[in-house]
């Protein structure tokens, strides 16, 4: 990559503008660039260079000023929301958004944890890398249940794009032939530990709809030529991914899509460019480009292109659209339906069960596996729904031996105590529910009537809550999980639900708010992520989702984006855009 790639002022009318540089923006830029289009990627934050800008990577805990804990006053001042994320540490905090600079409000009596990663690469640097296809039933769920609107696409529409992105990204996993979790193109799976294998044998034997499989993740367990060409090598099982990975062993914009896009010489990047709004021409009914506020000095500039792809994150893209007001679209661009901002969803990670496993004392594991095991959603169609709620949940599953980290409070003084702490303790095995959240009109984001951020952009006002459906589902998951563990012989099983104190947002799977649909009267986008109202405006990130399904959404963002770019370029070539 050369520094001429980065631009600030320009009169160029680009073929395509991609707003955002995370998982979705990286894919959109790569696909446009590889099709020969002169492409501008706009990023609101600073440049993060692969390998050079990973200051937390590869250090021992003693090399951090507070042994990897974050200074409490810094947390209080700048990260009071971000600190709730499991990946927020001293070694990663520079990849999280600054809450003081990125304020938002929530409706009284509600809460929402909005995790931000505003730099080149976005959340692709911080993601958990779990990669699953949606299944046919996921696309049918809204229609079957009469909840939300029907997805305008089906599994078959995305199948080829799933394969295409998986080969490029590199997905580690095992083919299982399951109807509720279609297989991907796989690199070899990670290994299970013996207690995990024991649990798998028990579940496979005793339940027809439930299966224990190895988690599928965007890690190069065995790189192919395609990955080597990107400059990536095999995963070293450090599991410190969110610090940045110089091996390029997990997929990120930096490790994968950005080098591919840059290689074409069609890529330009405007960093530190906070998109204020879209520039709309009502005579032609086209988007002309974007109005940008400089991240640092707050000056204004504009960029122009033939098409604009919003890939600024679910809430980021919707915020830009809501703030793009004109005579024709007084309530936000391409919002003739009035549903922009509505049907916000997240995943519900608020039930778990775990316990102690006896035996296997003569076994340990080596390396830090960057994924757990997984039980795909076994309530994926109405006949399998639980009592009193629609949809279902998956379980993350994993076994480990305890160590000193949990024993600081245990009794003991002296050499014997010290010796005990240096050895691994008992095996524990746990299940962690990942539930679907229903699309509900009431769960919405809007622009705050008076509050703005430092760039003068109206803040988002979020109104989002778990409904009884989500709560009942978590109660079911806690009970079902505990029951499975007990029957499998796990001891001292305890289960819990946490939806009372964990607001939506914390799964960082926010989707919806500019949903797809067949009917322009109740949706923002068509099945190709193109807005119904304006043919050269597309939204290909999570905002487009009609339902949340239960699986981690990033792989679908990628596949959807590739399909949207392909369609867009074809439309441009045929002069329809």
């Amino acid at each position: 990559m050369n520094d001429k790639m980065y631009i600030e002022q320009t009169d160029t009318v680009f073929d395509a503008i991609v707003v955002g540089s995370g998982i979705t923006g990286g894919w959109a830029a790569k696909e446009f660039c590889e099709r020969g289009l002169n492409t501008l990627m706009i990023e609101r934050g600073r440049v993060v260079k692969h390998r050079e800008d990973y200051p937390g990577e590869g250090k021992g805990p003693w090399e951090f000023p507070n042994r990897s804990k974050v200074d409490n006053l810094l947390v209080e001042q700048d990260f009071h929301q971000q600190k709730k994320c499991y990946a927020f540490h001293d070694s990663t905090k520079h990849f999280f958004g600054n809450d003081r600079e990125l304020p938002y409000s929530t409706k009284e009596g509600t809460d929402f944890t909005w995790i931000r990663a505003n730099q080149l690469g976005g959340k692709s640097l911080l993601w958990h890398r779990q990669s699953y296809r949606l299944c046919e039933d996921d696309f049918l769920a809204n229609k079957r249940d009469g909840v939300g609107n029907d997805w305008p696409i089906r599994y078959d529409d995305l199948k080829d794009e799933y394969s295409y992105v998986e080969k490029f990204v590199g997905i580690s996993g095992q083919a299982e032939g399951l109807v509720n979790l279609p297989d991907s193109e796989f690199l070899p799976p990670f290994e299970m530990t013996s207690p995990e294998k024991m649990f798998k044998r028990f579940v496979d034997k005793n339940y027809t709809e439930r299966h224990v499989i190895m988690g599928r993740c965007a890690h190069l367990t065995k790189p192919t030529q395609l990955h080597i060409e990107q400059g990536r090598v095999q995963c070293q099982a450090r599991n410190e991914c969110q610090k940045g990975c110089s091996f390029g062993a997990y997929f990120s914009t930096q490790s994968s899509t950005l080098p591919a896009a840059a290689k074409t010489n069609n890529l330009h990047i405007a960093p530190n460019s906070v998109v204020h709004s879209l520039i709309y021409d009502d005579k032609t009914n086209k988007v002309l480009g974007v109005k940008v506020i400089d991240n640092d000095n707050l000056t204004t500039r504009e960029y122009f292109a033939k098409v604009v792809f919003l890939c600024a994150s679910t809430l980021g893209s919707t915020q830009i659209m809501l703030n793009s007001k004109s005579k024709k679209f007084p309530n936000g661009i391409a919002n003739s339906s009035g549903v922009l901002g509505h049907y916000l969803m997240d995943h519900n990670y608020n039930a778990s069960a775990d316990g102690r496993v006896e035996g296997y004392e003569d076994e340990f594991y080596q390396g830090r596996r960057p994924t757990g095991c997984y039980i795909p959603n076994f309530r994926y169609k109405p006949s399998l729904y639980g009592e009193g709620f629609k949809r279902g949940y998956a379980f993350g599953m994993g076994a480990y031996r305890t160590d000193w980290r949990g024993k600081g409070g245990s009794d003991g003084i002296g050499a014997d105590y010290k010796s005990k702490l240096t050895e691994p303790g008992e095996w524990r095995l746990g299940l962690y529910a990942q539930g679907e959240m229903l699309p509900r009109f009431e769960n919405q984001v809007a622009l705050h009537p008076t509050k703005t951020d430092k760039w003068g952009i109206p803040q988002l006002d979020i109104n989002c809550q778990w409904s009884d459906n989500e709560k009942l589902m978590m109660e079911d998951a806690a009970q079902v999980g505990a029951d499975m563990l007990r029957k499998a012989g796990v001891l001292d099983v305890k289960s819990r639900t946490t939806y009372d104190h964990n607001a939506p947002g914390l799964a960082i799977h926010e989707v919806g708010t500019a949903r797809m649909g067949r009917d322009p009267k109740d949706s923002i986008l068509n099945g190709f992520n193109q807005t119904h109202d304006i043919d050269n405006l597309f939204v290909s990130d999570g905002a487009a989702f009609c339902s949340s399904a239960v699986v981690n959404p990033s792989l679908t963002f990628m596949a959807m984006t590739v399909r949207a770019v392909k369609y867009c370029v074809n439309e441009m070539n045929n002069k329809r855009i």
Partner: protein, 205 residues
């Protein structure tokens, strides 16, 4: 008893961080937050004589007591003690920057209580006791023999920090445990026999 200097430290840090937050420029802010300046300003550095110096949280005499508490909980065996790796200096720092005022008060109270208990039982300061007397006193504390639940839970706060400080020190992580920063891959099952060490290398602590 001389006052701890912590009351001075917190407003100073607050002010520093506030000014740091006002620095214009995302790249500059990144440099500041990701390390350099913040660490330079308030970094913990291992010092050989922290048991004889006033700390950020503790007074000089409390530091001397804390050093021996650390050494009693995790003594020298085939690896150095918690005192040898300056756990007391680390705890003093960590309480100042990662804990709140309430926790700091509890920690100070239990160090003082242990010192008082030493004087009551042995007529000399905890630091002057022989190792077996210190061991006996802290064991009694955990068994609630002459101590109450409140004191035990305060002691657990200190003990958590001793254990964390020791096993995240270079000696603790690499000598008392097995340290494998770049495993190269994951093996789901390797043989284990009693006495083999646990992993000291973790993704996050």
């Amino acid at each position: 008893m001389e006052p701890s200097n912590n009351e001075l430290t917190e407003p100073t840090r607050r002010d520093f961080l506030r000014k740091l937050g006002l620095v214009v420029g995302s790249s500059a802010a990144f440099t500041l937050v990701s390390g350099v300046k913040l660490n330079q300003a308030f970094a913990y550095e291992m010092t050989p004589n922290s048991a004889h110096r006033k700390g950020k949280t503790f007074t000089q005499s409390q530091m001397a007591t804390l050093a021996k508490i650390a050494r009693t909980v995790l003594p020298k065996t085939d690896t150095p003690s918690a005192e040898d790796v300056d756990c007391h200096g680390f705890i003093d720092h960590q309480l100042a920057v990662c804990y709140n005022k309430h926790d700091r008060r509890l920690a100070i109270e239990i160090v003082d209580d242990i010192e008082s208990a030493a004087i009551n039982a042995f007529s000399t300061s905890f630091a002057q006791l022989i190792d077996s007397q210190r061991h006996e006193l802290l064991t009694k504390l955990e068994r609630l023999d002459g101590f109450n639940h409140d004191q035990k839970s305060k002691f657990q706060l200190i003990k958590h920090l001793i254990v964390f400080g020791f096993f995240t020190s270079e000696v603790g992580a690499t000598q008392a445990l097995r340290y494998l920063p770049v495993p190269g891959g994951f093996t789901g099952s390797i043989p284990y026999k009693k006495g083999d060490k646990a992993w000291g290398s973790h993704a996050f602590y």
